[in-house]
């Protein structure tokens, strides 16, 4: 594993591991923080994780589940099909780990590695994961997507 091309993201969410797992795997939740994408998968080992654009016209990801241990661990391949240059790079790997903490809090750690020969993908996902994970936290803790809560706040201030 090349350390310098490995990306690690970690955050704490006020929710049970089951709720976090649901947010990662259910289409209803994912649409609210994952660029509005539509996801199709059983999230069982060997199954595909297909993510489509919101209008279902473009296939953004077609990944494979490598390991699945609900609600603790999910490992899948990653390829960015939404960009032709990135789509030509080798597949990388994404690992989601959910660890329960005291006080009804879960620690979520996302590791994106095997990016050694995929520099374009590495550059593109680094800001992306940060926003997606912050969005996931907001959706799980408040039930509302981040952009909607900001819009709501602006409306309140304006009114």
């Amino acid at each position: 594993m090349a350390a310098e091309t490995t990306q690690v993201y970690q955050l704490y969410i006020k929710a049970s591991p089951e709720q976090v797992w649901e947010a990662i795997t259910s289409n209803e939740f994912r649409g609210k923080y994952f660029h509005g994408s539509i996801v199709e998968s059983t999230f069982k080992p060997g199954s595909r994780i297909r993510a489509w654009s919101p209008d279902h016209s473009a296939l953004w990801n077609d990944n494979e589940v490598i390991e699945s241990d609900p609600p603790r661990r999910l490992v899948h391949t990653w390829s960015s099909l939404y960009d032709t240059e990135m789509a030509g790079e080798p597949e990388s790997r994404v690992t989601w780990e959910i660890t329960p903490q005291d006080g009804g809090i879960s620690k979520l750690t996302l590791t994106h590695d095997q990016l050694d020969r995929s520099p374009k993908t590495a550059g593109s996902v680094s800001g992306g994961w940060m926003l997606i994970l912050c969005g996931l936290k907001t959706v799980v803790e408040t039930g509302e997507p981040l952009t909607a809560s900001l819009a709501g706040m602006q409306r309140t201030q304006a009114g």
Binding site: M1, A2, A3, E4, T5, T6, Q7, V8, Y9, Q10, L11, Y12, T109, S126, M130, L131, L133, C134, K137, L146, L150, M153, Q154, Q157, A158
Partner: protein, 104 residues
């Protein structure tokens, strides 16, 4: 101390900010690598890394016999959303309201 307190405290030190910048340039560095770039003892750098780890700004992973340090940008984004974006959005809409009022 809550999560935000720990992040602000961690960022309130030039050596710790420098360590974050070095991980931003190249991630997954060892303690030896990080210590060699700072003008202080290995123990001093270890203490700073510990504060950064407690704030969640770095994640430490064991890789064989080595410990690797990874930059975690999520707490900075959460601070941005909570403490910067909010006030900026407020100012922008206040200016927009002023403009509307003046032009009416």
């Amino acid at each position: 101390m809550d999560d935000d307190d720990r992040v602000f405290k961690a960022l309130a030190d030039p050596t710790r900010r420098h360590l974050l910048d070095r991980l931003f340039e190249r991630d997954g560095r060892t303690l030896g690598d990080l210590a060699s770039g700072e003008d202080m003892t290995r123990f001093g750098v270890m203490r700073h890394l510990r504060v950064l780890e407690d704030a969640g700004l770095i994640v430490v992973r064991r890789s064989g016999r080595e410990k690797r340090h990874y930059l975690n940008t999520v707490p900075i984004q959460l601070i941005y959303e909570r403490w910067i974006d909010k006030y900026r959005a407020g100012r922008v809409s206040a200016l927009a309201d002023l403009k509307k009022g003046l032009e009416a």
